[in-house]
């Protein structure tokens, strides 16, 4: 229900919520005006074809990881340790696929940071995880109490250090505390994933708000707002790949390089994460059918964007996982330079190309407010 906050000409604080009849539709000039039926079709495809399956898959990966960790804890061995490390790769790739959605329940109640605390320039996570290990803090081995601790100790960053960092090989011979802490992290991540998936699955909740923009909608009042929001996922997701995941450690040949600031450099999952991010962007763009909202003359921008995302994904798969080498070797650096340039191109195609085609005269980012 719509809420109004004050009555009378001037309301002195504290204001009071006063339910009111819906305002009559004002004579507005919305920036983006799109056909309602097509907007609903696109938003439904985005929610049911990408977002909800993405969170469900992530939850399943976290549950699988929890089971794998329990197996390792019960029977420490090289094989079970290797299975745990492989499971971490699957879990992080599953997260990266849906991580591009940086809106909705995932950014409420610190859920995003609880899953992944990054960037972490001051190595807060490393210090806190090491402190937990040195104290053998039992509260970190129970997902319930772990969930109340620092976000840096309870997510994928912590799990990576536990499985790949200094002392991780003790898991083979049976480091009980480290293993139980790892299992608790996996379960905690699964719990957060389940929360998010549950919120998206509620039929009258956010999924309905996304699929059916209307005047009395708590998220999107018009189709234009909904599609602008969907475009925002793509623009911000592409910016995050370029600015947060690559430029964090490499901004160009003549700039300072920080290979150990890269996400998941220890486990060599930096590029698998980037690839899964890019594939997620590509899948959302394709699955949603956003192209249908464009005039025929502008539709090639979508195919060009998809093509560029795919070529970036393929190129990311060819960069060495050894990031020290990647930033020093000339031929490897050329790949990084290409990824940065292509990333900029993708952002421009979405921002100015798609954004301009739906009516944002200066592109999405220019109009994203301040």
């Amino acid at each position: 229900m719509r809420k109004t906050f004050a009555s009378g000409l001037i309301a002195l604080l504290p204001a009071v919520f006063v339910p009111a009849a819906f305002a009559q539709e004002a004579d507005t000039a919305p920036t983006v005006e799109l056909p309602t039926a097509t907007v609903t079709k696109v938003m439904t495809a985005a929610v049911d074809g990408f977002i909800r399956p993405g969170y469900d898959a992530f939850q399943k990966s976290a549950e699988d990881m929890t089971a794998t960790m329990r197996t390792l804890c019960a029977a420490p061995s090289q094989a079970n340790y290797d299975a745990a490390k492989a499971g971490f790769g699957k879990l992080t790739a599953s997260w990266a696929h849906i991580e591009i959605v940086r809106t909705g329940p995932v950014i409420e109640q610190n859920r995003f940071e609880r899953i992944l605390f990054y960037p972490d320039r001051k190595s807060t996570g490393l210090k806190q995880v090491q402190a937990v290990l040195s104290k053998s803090d039992e509260t970190a081995t129970d997902p319930k109490t772990l969930a109340t601790k620092s976000v840096a100790t309870q997510g994928l960053g912590a799990l990576e250090y536990l499985l790949f960092g200094t002392g991780s090989d003790t898991l083979i011979s049976g480091n009980d505390f480290r293993c139980r802490y790892s299992a608790a992290v996996a379960e905690n991540v699964g719990n957060v994933a389940a929360e998010i998936a549950g919120i998206w699955d509620a039929p009258d909740g956010i999924q309905k708000a996304w699929k059916q923009p209307e005047v009395d909608n708590p998220v999107y009042r018009t189709g234009g707002e909904a599609i602008t929001g969907l475009l925002g996922i793509l623009v911000h997701g592409a910016e995050a790949v370029r600015d947060q995941r690559i430029e964090t450690f490499y901004k160009g040949a003549d700039k300072a390089k920080f290979p150990k600031q890269a996400l998941f450099w220890r486990s060599e999952n930096t590029w698998p994460m980037v690839i899964a991010n890019l594939d997620g962007l590509s899948e959302l763009l394709t699955t949603s059918g956003m192209v249908e909202l464009l005039p025929e003359k502008d539709r090639s921008i979508v195919a060009a964007t998809e093509e560029k995302l795919k070529s970036m994904s393929a190129l990311a798969g060819k960069v060495t996982p050894d990031l020290e080498k990647a930033v020093e070797d000339t031929s490897e650096r050329q790949k990084l330079d290409t990824l940065l340039a292509d990333g900029k191109d993708v952002i421009s195609k979405l921002n100015d190309g798609y954004g301009g085609a739906i009516g944002l005269s200066s592109g999405f980012s220019f109009a994203d407010g301040d």
Partner: protein, 361 residues
């Protein structure tokens, strides 16, 4: 530094800005500048995606424009010194002080380590101090940086803004008070422009002693309005401080979007008609007061509207449909309005006007 996806270091910025201002103002532009009854300045985006600052006549015609290597946001002007400043859009780390007549070399100010500009600032009445809203991002607190206008805008200190997500700020006419709009939204340059605390925002309006930085008064929003981001300010002739807001809560709520307060008084929230609130789409992007006519202008790019209020009563005087409405400023008569799609008063230009306008004459 990240400005709209572009990474620009200080040297590159200085070089680009210096080239932009190297040429003297053309005789034609100088004539237009002197002849105009009112002159404005605003940031813009050119069709090729480049950015700049333009001076504009009251009819909306571009008098002069200078390319910038990155996007600017808010601006300020000192009538005492004739200098203007354009601040980087958050999380930018540069601000450029310039002379609209191009008689003086521009000066580029760099935010110190651990700080970035929030996009707004204001000169002291005599123009000797420039105040800038800044983010102490690791400390997650808003700050007001102080820069010495008599010494090449060297940073000479800072005050705690007593809030987070500091955005617009202004100075009382007598220079004794700083008034600050803390939008309440946490951001960090590591996360670009991502809003990190929408579900636990802390918006506030703050008044500081301009000399000491001492807190004089602070108004926090009640819990029911904790998602009402207080973002932009202007001061009326009688000293009343008007503020404009952006609602981060449910889209189908009808929150107050503007209000006022004065020294020693509580804040008053303006209850606009529901239809006006709907027209503003719960988002006011800019506010400006025409003191001579005692009117307040508000714009909403999302709703595509400009609204004029009576500054004494808060009553709506007029509402206009302005697609992608951007900046507002006091005009010789009424309120000057610009738009993202190039409209500035009566003139459409091949630029996208940025969110704010200042009047420099």
């Amino acid at each position: 530094m990240v400005w709209c996806g572009e990474t620009i270091d200080r040297r590159a910025f200085l070089k680009a800005a210096g080239i932009g201002f190297a040429a003297a103002l053309s005789p034609r532009s100088l004539y237009a500048l002197e002849r105009a009854d009112a002159v404005f300045a605003s940031g813009f985006r050119a069709p090729d995606g480049s950015f700049g600052i333009a001076t504009v006549s009251e009819q909306g015609e571009i008098i002069d424009k200078v390319a910038l290597p990155a996007r600017a946001h808010g601006m300020a002007f000192s009538s005492a010194t004739g200098r203007a400043v354009a601040f980087a859009r958050r999380p930018g780390t540069f601000a450029m002080v310039f002379d609209p007549t191009r008689e003086a070399e521009p000066i580029v100010i760099t935010a110190p380590e651990g700080r970035h500009f929030y996009g707004h600032g204001h000169f002291s009445p005599d123009g000797t101090v420039l105040y800038a809203s800044e983010n102490d991002f690791d400390g997650n607190r808003g700050m007001i940086g102080l820069y010495d206008g008599r010494d090449a805008f060297r940073r000479i200190g800072e005050f705690d803004a007593h809030g987070i997500g500091t955005h617009d700020m202004t100075v009382s006419d007598d220079g004794s008070l700083l008034v600050i709009a803390n939008g309440g939204i946490e951001t960090h340059p590591d996360f670009g422009r991502t809003k990190l605390n929408i579900d636990r925002m802390e918006p506030s309006l703050v008044m500081l002693d301009a000399k000491s930085g001492a807190l004089i008064q602070k108004h926090q929003m009640p819990s029911s309005l904790s998602q009402l981001s207080t973002r932009h300010l202007d001061i009326a002739e009688n000293g009343r401080i008007w503020f404009a807001c952006q609602w981060e809560g449910a889209r189908n709520d009808t929150p107050p979007l503007a209000g006022w307060f004065s020294k020693g008084e509580d804040i008053a929230l303006l209850s606009l008609p529901d239809e006006t609130t709907a027209r503003l789409a719960n988002y006011v992007g800019a506010i400006a007061i025409n003191r001579r006519e005692n009117i307040v202008g508000l714009t909403s790019p999302i709703g595509g509207a400009s609204v004029t209020l009576d500054a004494k009563t808060g009553l709506v005087l007029s509402e206009d449909v302005v697609r992608e409405a951007a900046g507002v400023a006091p005009a010789a008569h009424g309120i000057a309005v610009s738009s993202y799609d190039g409209q500035f008063m009566k003139t459409r230009s091949a630029v996208a006007w940025d969110q704010h306008i200042i009047r420099i004459k």
